[in-house]
């Protein structure tokens, strides 16, 4: 998996970002970002705060101009090389973190704010359109008369989405739109929004710092770090075969072990583990996801439980591995943390047998 295979523009690309840079004062926020997005798919840009992901989104929306590089939207250059199309003439939908509903307008007036007055002439046409949009986001038509402050956070976000959809944008930008919601509501709203956007067939870009959200929401995940895209690919690939250790650890818990890689077999404290398409050889760091390491009734590889942490549905278990072929008295064995569903199995001090499922990923040591 090469780190940037998905950013090669094709004739089908809806949005092409090419070597975009942006600085604020002395701070370099984007250092040459390139990204290509196909029509109709959902892309999540994920990264820690301060990585530049929101700035990238604002450049696409047209709230800021790039210092260099170009942005092409549906074949038209919208920024770069002397061209600049401001936000209001890009027809790009935008949903902000807190929805940014206009507090002085009703829900219906908010949704109708961007409607084309020529296309929807007269009260009845506007009302019908507003009702249709409310339905799209699963809200009763009666909500049109309410004030934004009478809605819950999730409802506000759905109204913000309906408002952005009113102009039938070809591209929808979502700037951490679920982060202000509490956990239960966040999942439900995320699902509702994803469904609505998929039905409308809108190309969507979501910016988030929540890996789980990015992986579950998007067809394509772009990992952003210090102003650069570290990896672009489909969620499964990015999660299971991250391009470097930092990405691996950002996207989820990772077990990292010292290993010796010969050909496509890595030998480590967990035995011999296959590595697909290794990029290096010899001494490496081997990365496994905790859920790849299972507790089995019997096996070669053993570890002693150091401590456990109970979360209800699952338990995390910290183990000290017994180095291959040596006694359990050795204290230099590596420690790993894995997850298990059965809390009664793992008591500190007890010895467990382990087995690894699937392949590992090798990074240069």
């Amino acid at each position: 998996m090469s780190p940037a295979s998905a950013d090669t523009p094709t004739p089908d690309s809806h949005l092409i970002i090419d070597k975009v840079t942006k600085s604020f004062g002395d701070t370099e926020v984007l250092r040459g970002v390139s990204l290509s997005v196909h029509r109709g798919i959902t892309t999540a840009i994920v990264g820690p705060s301060g990585s530049g992901k929101t700035t990238l989104l604002r450049l696409i929306a047209g709230f800021e101009a790039p210092d260099s590089g170009t942005i092409t939207l549906a074949g038209e250059r919208v920024a770069g090389e002397g061209r600049w199309i401001p936000a209001h003439r890009r027809n790009v939908g935008y949903v902000a973190q807190d929805g940014a509903l206009f507090p002085h307008l009703s829900v219906g007036q908010n949704i109708a704010f961007g409607l084309d007055k020529k296309k929807f002439a007269g009260r009845a046409a506007v009302d019908a359109r507003v009702a249709g949009l409310l339905e799209m986001v699963s809200l009763e038509p009666g909500y049109a008369r309410r004030r934004p402050d009478e809605l819950s956070g999730g409802q506000q976000q759905r109204v913000a989405l309906a408002r952005a959809l009113a102009r039938e944008p070809e591209l929808m930008l979502l700037d951490e739109p679920f982060s202000a919601l509490d956990a239960g509501l966040r999942v439900a709203t995320r699902k509702a929004v994803a469904r609505t956007l998929a039905e409308a067939g809108v190309t969507t870009i979501l910016v988030t710092h929540d890996q789980g959200e990015a992986l579950s929401f998007a067809d394509q995940v772009a990992v952003m770090r210090r102003g650069e895209l570290a990896q672009i690919g489909n969620p499964f690939v990015v999660y299971t075969r991250p391009s470097d250790r930092e990405t691996a650890e950002f996207l989820g818990d990772a077990v990292i072990l010292d290993a010796d890689l010969q050909g496509s077999l890595a030998t480590c404290a967990l035995g011999g583990i296959p590595v697909r398409r290794p990029t290096c050889q010899g001494k490496v760091h081997l990365m496994l996801r905790p859920e790849q390491i299972r507790i089995v009734p019997d096996g070669q590889i053993k570890g002693t439980v150091l401590e456990t942490d109970f979360f209800g549905p699952e338990i995390t278990v910290r183990l000290r591995l017994h180095p291959d072929g040596r006694g359990s008295s050795d204290l230099d064995g590596e420690t790993i943390t894995i997850r298990h569903w059965n809390a009664t199995l793992a008591k500190p001090g007890s010895e467990l047998s382990l087995r690894v499922i699937g392949e590992g990923v090798a990074f240069p040591a």
């Binding site: 936000a87 027809n91 002085h104």
Partner: protein, 530 residues
């Protein structure tokens, strides 16, 4: 001088950090900066005037004019007045606020409003009421009595607002740590009222320095009344200027003292969650004394002026209602008030906009300068404008634009504070949402930014209007001959001891001020540390 800048200087914590950081790095529009700089430079005229005059007069003459018995007497009066009035205002203001906000005082909501109402009575009307009741009233005693009754609401209103939004969980925490009610008040509540105390003390002090009418009426001499007297007799002589420079020195000293005392402490609620309403404290056997105290305070501060104004109005009968003159004065007051309010809000806009959207040391400097220059007494501003107009802008002397300019300078903070909090409620995200929905930046500015800031701008304009309606010194010195506002007409009639004739003007002034005072009171209760 009345409600004044109860609205104290804002803490700069309103704009969301995210937006602020991003915006802070981009460049503000040049036109806005130019406008804000021009306004700020214009407000420096009075300060520049005082400094120039002191330098031009020369050290020896200045020293001769400043170090003389007359100035000593003024100095004693002014210092004594401040030292007596400010602590009394703090004690009465905090005590009253605590009674209505935190105890089971019978009719607490009623008293909360009644005790704020004296703000609607201009100090010179208060003085008129007292001197027409007790003709012998004069000197430091009279000055202190009238000042305390006129200005304690400046402390009371901000203390009540602070008490109202103080988290009761802190008191509960204190109780759980073993503190009784009294010790809780002194160790937890009172220290947190430090901002309303220092801010209120500054406002009271500045009012005392600037007040002319109230003290002149009871023949109590302060720097302001003395400058007015000098100006009247010798017309803009060096003596008046030197008194003005001492007065300005006092003002700056007071601003410095307040900023030192205020410190950098912030008394915000830590942690999240909704602040509950505190359980009011039962007064027990102190119930009747407490009720008696607020009743006496309300009677002295509100009952005496209202009663006297009504008494004199009735005593004068129908003939004091000189129709044409009253209508003429009212219309002129409305004209000056509305024009002044409009100009002030327009001039404040670039400053407020920059302060909210582009916070930096530079915009803070611009904003801060305006709070200082507007703290100067009306008499100094008027003297400066008269001198500058006579020497450099002759056609402007005694013209309407010059009066309006002086009003704008004097009352700029009222508009600024309100606009600032109004604009802070229009986050950049809303403008961006509008643009992403296809509205141009100009359409967005009109439909979103201006529309949402409009209530705050109107609130600021109302307070500026109120200030202008009650303004006396600058109006007397600067307005074209023949111009009469309600305040100046009242002043002229009451100076001639025509108490009946003056009464209708006082009545109209109070009626005009009441709704604005109510607005100010409700605003302060809502605005949580903006």
């Amino acid at each position: 001088m009345t409600p004044a800048t109860v609205v104290s200087r804002p803490n700069r914590d309103k704009t969301g950090g995210r937006v602020r950081n991003r915006r802070g790095r981009s460049r503000p529009p040049a036109g806005m900066v130019a406008a804000a700089v021009a306004v700020t430079l214009a407000t420096l005229v009075p300060l520049g005037f005082v400094i120039t005059m002191t330098v031009l007069t020369g050290g020896e003459t200045a020293a001769r004019l400043i170090f003389r018995p007359r100035v000593g007497e003024l100095l004693f009066n002014t210092v004594a007045l401040i030292l007596l009035t400010v602590p009394l205002c703090i004690v009465i203001g905090i005590g009253a606020a605590w009674l209505v906000e935190r105890t089971r005082l019978p009719g607490a909501r009623f008293w909360a409003l009644v005790l704020a109402a004296p703000l609607a009575v201009p100090a010179f009307v208060n003085s008129y009421a007292w001197v027409s009741t007790i003709p012998s009233l004069s000197g430091i005693g009279g000055g202190t009595l009238i000042s305390v009754l006129s200005y304690y609401p400046l402390v009371y209103i901000s203390a009540a607002a602070a008490l109202r939004r103080m988290d009761p969980a802190q008191e509960q925490a204190a109780a759980s740590l073993g503190l009784g009610r009294w010790r809780t008040f002194f160790r937890v509540i009172l220290p947190q009222l430090w901002l309303p105390i220092t801010g209120g003390a500054l406002l009271v002090g500045l009012h005392l320095l600037a007040e002319f009418g109230a003290f002149s009426m009871i023949r109590f001499n302060t720097f302001t009344t003395a400058i007015m007297e000098q100006y009247r007799s010798t017309f803009n002589g060096a003596a008046a200027n030197m008194l003005a420079s001492v007065l300005v020195g006092f003002c700056l000293l007071m601003l410095l003292l307040e900023s030192r005392l205020r410190g950098n402490a912030r008394y915000a609620r830590l942690g999240s969650g909704v602040a509950g309403r505190p359980e009011p404290l039962p007064l027990g056997r102190y119930r009747l004394p407490a009720l008696a105290a607020v009743t006496v305070l309300a009677l002295l501060a509100l009952g005496v002026p209202l009663g006297n104004v009504l008494r004199w109005t009735l005593a004068g009968g129908a003939e004091v209602w000189n129709g044409p003159m009253i209508v003429h004065t009212l219309l002129q007051t409305l004209f000056f008030g509305l024009a002044g309010a409009l100009v002030t809000v327009l001039l404040a806009f670039p400053l407020a906009w920059l302060a909210v959207r582009y916070p930096s040391w530079f915009t803070r400097l611009l904003e801060g300068t305006n709070y200082i220059t507007s703290s100067l007494p009306g008499i100094v501003v008027a003297l400066a404008f008269v001198t500058v107009a006579i020497n450099f802008l002759r056609p402007l002397y005694q013209s309407v634009p010059l009066v309006i300019a002086a009003y704008a300078l004097l009352f700029l903070p009222r508009a600024l504070v309100n606009l600032r909090s109004g604009l802070a409620q229009v986050p950049q995200e809303l403008e961006e949402a509008s643009q992403s929905l296809g509205r141009s930046p100009l359409a967005t500015f009109v439909k979103i930014t201006l529309r949402m800031a409009a209530p705050a701008a109107a609130g600021g304009a109302a307070l500026v209007f109120l200030g202008i309606a009650n303004e006396l010194t600058a109006t007397l010195l600067l307005s074209p001959t023949g111009v009469n506002t309600l305040a100046t007409r009242f002043w002229i009639l009451s100076s001639q001891i025509d108490y009946s004739g003056a009464a209708p003007y006082a009545l109209i002034l109070i009626l005009l001020s009441l709704p604005m005072t109510y607005l100010l009171y409700t605003q302060s209760q809502k605005a949580a540390g903006q």
